[in-house]
Structure formats: structure tokens, C-alpha cells
Symmetry: C2
Subunit: 633 residues, 2 copies
């Protein structure tokens, strides 16, 4: 090896050059040992990250939980070898872990970064997500904390084709978030070929500038230019994008700027030559420069940091029998939760429909309006979760489908999000199928570790909305557009994972959630007239579901169950019931009533009847089941 | 009434002014009669649509199926009253239908437009979707048809916050699609308040211009300015955006430019005053100007128009026992399908991973590369379907979650899409959870009228890929990353809705799809050693599912079933089995084995074992079930 090993890298450019070489060498060594991984995408960004790490990132790698200091997000998560090489150069993971465990079973050094590493705020690897979350962090810090933490996001050029990048830049520009910088590694090559804009740096600058984000175009391998750009970025009074022209595979001439090397380790001989040429293996560590620790200043941040205790929340109370929409109860409860300093609400220009907007009246500083941009909506909620807040985000249930990939990734990030989808099912009536969520229960149930709640009345909606404060992971509350009678007294408890038996009955159990509970109650009345005794169960907690309650309901009603839901049949409430009962010893007969066919406009009742989930349908299915005779064992 | 009724509106501006008044009056009358709907959002765009209709839209309203002529898409679908008023003014629906049925049960005049109306190409109402589809149409027409049909898309300003709008403008600008014009109704007000940019027309122009789309800023109520803009738009050699500054509620001074009137009908007295002021009710019809009909010119379009018959397709053949990945078989089959002139393929920069890229080698003109922009990917496929082609779109299964709202809406549009998601489940190994689809089966099953297929080997993958050509609606094929043995001979048939019994057995049925079939086969071997006779079922068709086959399998195996899947438990293959059996008389005991916990990196086998879906897990579950004794009735 031709160079002397450096023990500690300082801030001089010679040291940074050595650091960059070490990051490249370690990226090659890690991918080589794993025989997979994105080597060339790491090499293009190594100079950018070396300068950032040595001179600009105000961050203590030895104290990743500190609230003071910058954030760094790898939006181009496939450059994980570079990130892990940085952790090694920071002295917080050792060489054996880097080379011995990268991409292997049980390792925290996964193919794409996840918060299994304490230095990683959010999982990335689905492109176009790191920047919206980074912008969310900048917004939260700027609005609620008045800190000077800067948010640096390393982006790929390919991901600039994702619309979510533009939702993020729009938000950054419009809110003038000077504390966020996108560092864009414009290496011209995507996975399967060149990007649309290749190295047209003017085009990138024009686009970014049009969104009121300051473009700074540089050669991404010129260390001094990178340094000047980062200095300018931190000083700017606007959000910034460092548009760095780079070479994919930089440092390894045999693969530089060549197609066909995306997502691949180099063959051993090629890697050996490259490492030799880069100066060989070194084990330098970047000088530690911990930022000054500053305690939480605002009431909101103190609460988010756990420094204050939660006040008592007075939940809204509703009179039994009165017609109140569950979405209204959700809004009332959010408003009541405004006294909790770390609760924040995110809206997508429908706050007057979801009733999330009521929160803004009492806590305008903790109300984040994203406009019609659901990906940014969920990203902002994720950012709030990263900083320790208790975010609620609401839109029409149908429109969370716009952000499904973000919700999926948030679960991998172990973010704690409380999502409320209003206007669910055909019940919404006149607006028609584009506004009707009929897939949301299936979609949310399939999310890792999620909770899915669907209250039938205002009392339970209020109780469950409040319970979500303490729920970990992704919790989802489905609310209904129309107003229906309050079924429960104000002191009723609604544990997550529970259910309520609203009526006892021995011949058949009618199980529903949300609006279907009211349908079941009316059906039970009609069945009683025919001499059929129907039990009615309010399955307000769809995941986790009340296994014991379902088994008991089946057992008490001759193993005959009818499940009714304002949702497609596949994967919905009925599926939740079946999945739960599959593990039970008993095998009840279950009939599923779910939305059939393509709905149009009409009144809620017309549409529920047309979809096969009306009172008559329930009566018919229950009667047929009872006539069939006894169920299984 | 002060004005004389005009019977036929010509192209003079006086006539257009009367037409615009009629569109406004009819929008007010329709929403008034329905007592709901978006009146003020219709009023702001009435002048734009009056000029378009009278002088620029090259379209025969009496022949909506014609291939010649322009497209008009209401991306702001909530302005449906305006669209329906236009249909009345075109003389294709009558006043009774407009006033008597709008938003009512059974009407084709729904709250938001759907193809229940022959003049509507696609359902809108989820904002930000009409423009990407319109750009897709322009791309398809430009690339495959060489026609001069122009695509006009009426957009709202609020929806410009959606990232998908920028995916569309990026595509239009980069491909220089001169045949598409976004007409942006900048009325400054969203649903819950003002938009971020309000009336900052320069900001809109800067943004749009940055995307290489020509901005044309006008007063959206100046008929002559609108006319000049539309003339310029059609003549431009670049895509255009007419940025029209408008007033929400224009024509009704009592609500003009006021918050709080979004999505509402006016009270009767206010509407009466407004109608009086607008000149009263009139029933004029716009002069018919049918465009010259031009027969399909290209081979691709002739095939799309049904003018040619399909050639025989020679499917790839695979040797039994050889290891071949199903994604490879998908790609081989796409390549074989290249001889079918109306088949087109859409890629999101992963064509070398999904193997969709193989198609480009034989039919480059029918291969649409969208870059990393999954919303535009699905929108382009929808556009191909609208023009009669047979689109296949492929990306990683996980990343279709990015376009879930577009898929949901495509189902309402009755589009015929063939979607292939590769790299499903923990089986992908080292890349980690961000790349693992574990929710896709639940999500796709819940889509209205969808078909969900999951082949276990190359032969079935090829057969099912080919079968998708003729499937209506949304069909989804899930492929696997790794190579596994070919299980079937090349002449085996795989009807959609069928299943295959790979091994007979009387004690228990092991049911899987995709990679899990191989797990089940290995488990059956191990169980045989323990004296347990296990049936193995390849459930390659998950929706529709083989109900009779499942009942038969349960019956032949002592009503004992183990379902294994590389997917989360909720809503997946197991749920499909349970939902199907719920309607059967018998009640088998079913155990579901699905992915548990958060996976990391590792080999496919390590990760499947860790997730609880390994061979050992199947053996254990099956053995326990057999030991428990007999199942239900």
C-alpha cells in the first residue's frame, strides 16, 4: 500500500481526499464481501459525503438520539455501502461489522438503510421518499422548535422523476424552509439506462429554481466546490438544492460512467485493482465535532422530548340516540387533544370535511397544511414522529391510497402515525365511486404491525381517537360521512382489540363495524319479528381483532355468523373475522356481505341496498343461515 | 327573461358568451336540483370550456367512439356539472336528464365523471390523475398513431400540489408532446382555503416552463384571450399549459372569490337571482363540427382498432426440473407477444429486473419508458387501454403501492391493464424490506373486478402472462426473483380461476402459490417420511380462486388445510382461501402461515425460515393439524 494510514481525519482538503478514498474503498470492500449491493452509486457520491462529514454535518455520531444537531437522510437508500462506510469512518461501527455482516442475515447493515441503525431516522430504498420526509423535518424544526438544525438529504437523479420529490420541493419553497438542502448526485445513469435529463444541469437548475428552491450547480468531485456549496446552502435564507454533476463509479476507471454496473459488486480482481489505485485499505476516523447541546425550548418540543407530563384531556360527550357523524367526533376529539403539547395535525386541504381542521382553531402552530399532496402529508407525519411528536394525519379514506407506499415504508421505519380516513364506503352517497374508499381496510390491515379501528358512533370514535395517542406503529381510524345515532354512554370503554355486544341473541351473530353496525341493529329488529334471535356485535377494532369475543359470539349463536361491511369483500372485515376464527377450534358457518359491483351516485341507503349490504340483505342472509341448520363442531 | 333564446351557437364571440351563460345557468340548475355538487368550481371554468367547445375541440359529440378527433379530460372531476352542461349544449343529453338525474341513484350523471358516459374516457375525482392520463394519451397518439388528435385537460389549481401533475409535465416536456394542453383553472381557492400560490401566475409559469412545457398566461374570463391561447396551444411545437386566472363562482357576484362555497349548491333564492342575472334558462346547442374521419394508419393502431386479426404466439418452452425465475418467463413471454401488434409495454426504469425490457428489443416503438415514476407508469397504461391497446406495465411489486390510487381509479374507469410486480416477498433476500412486497396481494385483491395471479414456475408464468392479453379489468401477475425448478410440461393449461394438484394426499392439504409451492413440495417430502400423506395444491389463481378445487382438496385431505404465503397474513392467499371456503358447506380446519415480523437482509431461505414460512414451519403446522384429529363437518 502506497499511503500512510491516517488515524484521524481533520477538516483539511488533503484529509478529506483521503477520507473520500476510504469511503470508496470501504464501499467496494463491503459490496465485494457481500457479492451484491450498489457499489457504483456509492462511488459517485463519496466526495459529497466526505466534505459533508468532515466540514458541514453538525452531528455527534456518538449521540444519535440528541435533539441538537443536523439530520442526514439517504433518500437514495441504495447507496447504503457509502452510508455504512461513513459510520465506520465516524468510528461508531467497526470494520469487522462492515465487511463481515453487510447484507447478511441478522445484520443491521441491510441492503437499504433502516432505523435498525440508530443513526438512521427513516427507512429508505423506495425512491423519492427521503426528501419529502427531510422537508417535513425541516418544517417541523422550523415551526415548532426554532432550532438551527439543518437537514441534509442525499438524493439520486433518477428519483427526481418521482412526483413526491416535487411535492417536497413545493413545500420547501412555499414555506421558505432555509434549513433543508437536497444534495443531488447527478450521475446520469439510472438502473436500466440513462436518465431523461442526463447531465443537463441547467434543466435541473431551472426546474428546482421554479419551485423557489435555490439551485447550486457544482462539479460533485471538486472538494472545494462542494465545500463552498455547502457553506452557501447553510447560509441561504431559502431552501437549497446542490446539483452535483458526478460520475457513476467514480474512482474505478474500468466502470466509470458505464451502463450495466448498477446494483452490482465488482468482480474481485477488478475491485482489488481499484482499491490499490485508491491508495489501499485505511482505517481513519473523522475528528469528532459534537454540536452544542441545546435543551428543548418550546412547549411543544419539551412535550415531544418527554420533558413534561401530559395534561388530562376532557373528551367530548354525546347524548345517546342523537345523530352525530363519527368524523365530527374525531374532529371534536382532536380539538380536545390540542391541550396535549406534542400532538400535531396534518391536513391535505380537506380539514373541513374530515374535521381535522377544528384542531387549527386551538393550536394553529401545530397544524400542518400540506394542500392536495398526500405523499407529503404522510411524510410530514413521519417527520413529526421522528422528532418525537404525536402526529395525526387526515384525508378522505380513499386518498390515503395515494400514499400507500409511504405508509408501507413508515411501518418499516417504525414511525408512530395516527391516520384518519373519512368518507369511507358507498355510504358517502352522491359524490360517487372516486371518493369511496372500498379497499382501505384490506390495505391498512396488510401493513406491518398496524392497528385498524372503525367506530360505529361518536362516543366510540372519540374514545378511539384519544386511544391512538398511545398506540405504536401505524394506526388507522376509519370514519363515516353521515350522522348516525350515538349508541354508547360517555363513560363506556373501548379497548383496542375489543368488541361490543350490542344485543344478545342465540340463533345468529350479526357482526359489523362502522355504519354496518346500524344496519345490523335494524336487521336484528326485523329478524326478531320473524322469531329469529340475532346477536349484534360492534367490531370496532378490526386489527387487532377480538378473537375471544368472536369465538364467544359464534358459540352463543349456534356457530352462525353474518359479517357486514361497507368495503369490498376481499381482505376486509369479513376476512379479519375468518382469519381470526381459522385459529379457533370451532368452525362456525360464516356469510360475508360486502360491497358488490361498481357503485354510482345516490343516497347512502340506496347505495348500500344496491351493493348488497342493506338491512334486507342482512335479514335474508341470516334467515338462510338459520334455516340451513346447525353449523360446524 | 331579457334575452332571446338561441337555437344554435356558432363560433362568434357573442354566441360563445351566450353559451358560457348557458353552461353557468345549467351548472346552477343541476346542482340546485340535486342540492349538492360543485357549482362554484364549474362557474370559474365555464368561459374556458365555452371557447374550447365552440372553436377548438375537434370532436364529434355524436360519435364518441371515433378514433379521429380530440380528447377532453376533466382532471378537476368535481366540475362535473360543467361537463354535463356541455353535454346538454352538445345536444347529446337532454335537459330532463341533466336536471332530473344529476347525482341521483342509477344516473350516469354521477357526482364525478365516469365512463358510464360514453364521452368520458376515464373516471376522475381523485385529483392529479386526469393530466397524467392525458399526457399518456398524447404520448400514445404521437408515438403509435401519428395523428393530429389534440388532448385537452381541464385542471384545477389545487391539484398542482399533487406530485403526479409534475410526473406528467416532466413526461410531456421531455418527450416534447406538442399535442397536449393543460388548461389550468387558477381560481385561487381550494376546498378548505386558498391555495399556496393563489393568483401568482408568474410562479405557475416559472414552474411549468421549467418542465419544458410552454406556459400561456391569460385572463380566464376574456373570451378572445382564451381563443388566442387555444390557437397558440394547438400550433405550438411543445406541450402547453394555459394558465387561466379565474374567479371561483364567476357570474354569481354573491359568491365570487369567496371561501366557504366549495362543493355546495347555492340556496334556491340565490340561484334564482343568479340565473336571472345570467340571462335566464336557454336551451341552445353548439353547432356540430365533426372532424374528418381518418382510418387507422399504423399496424399498431389497426390492431388496436380491431381491424386485424391476432397472429399465433409461440410461447417459450421450459424443460421440467430446470431452474428458471418466473420473472424471466414473464419477460420471455412479453418478447413472444411482440408479434401481436396492439401489445405495448410500460416500464419504470426496472426493465432489466422485471424483464419487461426484453420487449423493447423486438418492438421498441411499443415500449414506453416512464423512468422512476410509477403514477405516470400506470397512467400511461390506462391511456393505452383507452386507445384500445393491450398494455402490460411492470415494476417491482412493492412499487405498485406508489400508484395504488391510480389502480383503484383505473378499475372505476373500466380500463384493461396487465400489471406485473416482480421481486415479491421476503424471497428477494439481501435488498431488505423496502424492496419486499408483502401487502400487494391484499391490495390488488381488494381492487374492483381484479384478477390476481401468482405462478410457481416458468411454464405457468408464461401461460398466465399470455392469458392476460384477453383478461378484462385490472389483472396482476406476481413474479419471484429467484430461480426455482420448472414444475410443468410446456403443454399444461392454466385456466384463470383454476389450481393444480401437484401431489395427492389424504391427511392434509398444503396450499401455496408462487415460491411457497416449492416450500410445500419439500414439506410434503418430509411429511411423507413421517408417514403423513400431504396433498400439494398450486393456487396460481388467487382471484378468482378455484372454489371447487379448494372444496375438493379439503374433502380429500380430512378437512385439514395449511396455507403458506410469502406475504403478510392479512388479506393474502390465506384470506382468499378462507373467503372462498366460507361459502362452502364444509368447515375445514385451516392454518395460515404468512410472513411474521419485520424482515431484514439475508438469503431467501434464511428469510423465509425467519418469517415462519419455511419448510420446517409447514411440516410443523401440518403435523400438528393431523395430530389434532378430524376437522369439521
Amino acid at each position: 500500500m502506497s499511503e500512510t494510514l491516517t488515524t484521524t481525519y481533520g477538516t483539511g482538503f488533503d484529509d478529506i481526499r483521503r477520507l473520500a478514498a476510504q469511503l470508496r474503498v470501504d464501499s467496494l470492500r463491503a459490496t465485494g464481501a457481500a457479492r451484491s449491493g450498489h457499489a457504483t452509486s456509492s462511488l459517485s457520491a463519496a466526495d459529497l459525503m466526505a466534505v459533508l462529514m468532515a466540514r458541514h454535518l453538525d452531528y455527534d455520531w456518538h449521540d444519535p438520539g440528541a435533539r441538537s444537531g443536523d439530520h442526514l437522510i439517504f433518500s437514495k437508500g441504495h447507496a447504503s455501502p457509502l452510508l455504512y462506510a461513513m459510520l465506520t469512518a465516524a468510528g461508531v461501527i467497526d470494520d469487522d461489522e462492515l465487511i463481515g455482516t453487510y447484507r447478511r442475515f441478522g445484520s443491521r447493515l441491510q441492503g437499504h438503510p433502516t432505523p435498525a441503525l440508530s443513526w438512521v431516522d427513516v427507512a429508505t430504498g423506495s425512491l423519492g421518499q427521503g426528501l419529502p420526509i427531510g422537508v417535513g423535518l425541516a418544517w417541523v424544526i422550523d415551526r415548532l422548535e426554532k432550532r438551527d438544525n439543518h437537514v441534509w438529504v442525499l438524493c439520486g437523479d433518477g428519483e427526481f422523476a418521482e412526483g413526491s420529490i416535487w411535492e417536497a420541493l413545493e413545500t420547501a419553497g412555499a414555506k421558505r424552509l432555509a434549513n433543508v438542502t437536497a444534495i443531488v448526485d447527478v450521475n446520469r445513469l439510472g438502473q436500466s439506462g440513462s436518465t431523461e435529463l442526463e447531465w443537463d444541469m441547467d434543466a435541473y437548475a431551472r426546474k428546482v429554481g421554479g419551485f423557489d428552491v435555490e439551485p447550486i450547480v457544482i462539479d460533485g468531485h471538486d472538494l472545494e466546490a462542494i465545500d463552498r456549496a455547502m457553506t452557501a446552502a447553510r447560509r441561504s435564507d431559502r431552501p437549497t438544492a446542490i446539483l452535483a454533476r458526478t460520475i457513476k463509479g467514480k474512482g474505478v476507471p474500468e466502470v466509470e460512467d458505464l451502463n450495466g454496473w448498477h446494483g452490482k459488486a465488482l468482480p474481485d480482481d477488478m475491485a482489488d485493482r481499484a482499491i490499490e489505485r485508491l491508495g489501499g485499505v485505511s482505517h481513519g476516523v473523522v475528528e469528532r465535532r459534537p454540536p452544542a447541546q441545546q435543551p428543548p425550548g418550546t412547549r411543544a418540543e419539551k412535550a415531544a422530548a418527554g420533558a413534561t407530563s401530559r395534561p388530562h384531556v376532557e373528551l367530548p360527550r354525546y347524548e345517546r340516540g342523537k345523530d352525530v357523524a363519527t368524523r365530527r367526533a374525531f374532529g371534536d376529539t382532536l380539538r380536545a387533544l390540542a391541550v396535549v403539547d406534542d400532538v400535531a395535525v396534518v391536513d391535505g386541504d380537506v380539514g373541513n370535511s374530515t374535521y381535522a381542521g377544528t384542531f387549527a382553531e386551538d393550536a394553529p402552530d401545530r397544524f400542518f397544511e400540506c394542500g392536495i399532496a398526500e405523499q407529503q402529508l404522510v411524510s410530514t407525519a413521519v417527520a413529526l414522529s421522528v422528532r418525537g411528536y404525536v402526529p395525526y394525519a387526515a384525508t378522505f379514506a380513499a386518498f390515503f391510497s395515494r400514499a400507500y407506499d409511504f405508509i408501507r415504508m413508515a411501518a418499516i421505519s417504525r414511525a408512530n402515525l395516527r391516520l384518519c380516513g373519512s368518507h369511507a364506503g358507498v355510504e358517502i352517497g352522491e359524490d360517487g365511486p372516486s371518493q369511496m374508499a372500498l379497499e382501505d381496510i384490506a390495505a391498512f390491515r396488510a401493513i406491518l404491525g398496524s392497528t385498524v379501528l372503525y367506530p360505529s358512533d361518536a362516543t366510540s370514535a372519540a374514545a378511539l381517537t384519544a386511544a391512538m395517542v398511545d398506540l405504536p406503529g401505524i394506526s388507522y381510524l376509519r370514519t363515516t360521512r353521515g350522522a348516525y345515532p350515538v349508541l354508547y354512554g360517555p363513560d363506556e370503554a373501548f379497548p383496542v382489540g375489543g368488541s361490543k355486544t350490542l344485543r344478545e341473541g342465540k340463533d345468529v351473530a350479526l357482526i359489523g363495524a362502522g355504519v354496518a353496525v346500524h344496519t345490523c341493529l335494524r336487521a336484528a329488529d326485523r329478524l326478531a319479528e320473524d322469531g329469529v334471535s340475532a346477536r349484534v356485535v360492534d367490531l370496532y377494532s378490526i386489527k387487532p381483532v377480538d378473537h375471544a369475543g368472536l369465538v364467544a359470539a359464534a358459540s352463543a349463536s349456534g356457530q352462525r355468523i353474518v359479517v357486514v361491511e361497507d368495503h369490498h369483500r376481499e381482505g376486509g372485515v369479513g376476512a379479519a373475522v375468518l382469519e381470526s376464527l381459522a385459529d379457533a377450534g370451532a368452525s362456525p358457518r360464516v356469510r360475508l356481505l360486502a360491497v358488490q359491483g361498481l357503485p354510482g351516485s345516490g343516497t347512502a341507503e340506496e347505495l348500500m341496498n344496491a351493493a348488497g349490504i342493506g338491512v334486507g340483505d342482512v335479514v335474508e342472509a341470516a334467515s338462510a343461515l338459520v334455516k340451513e341448520g346447525d353449523g360446524g363442531s
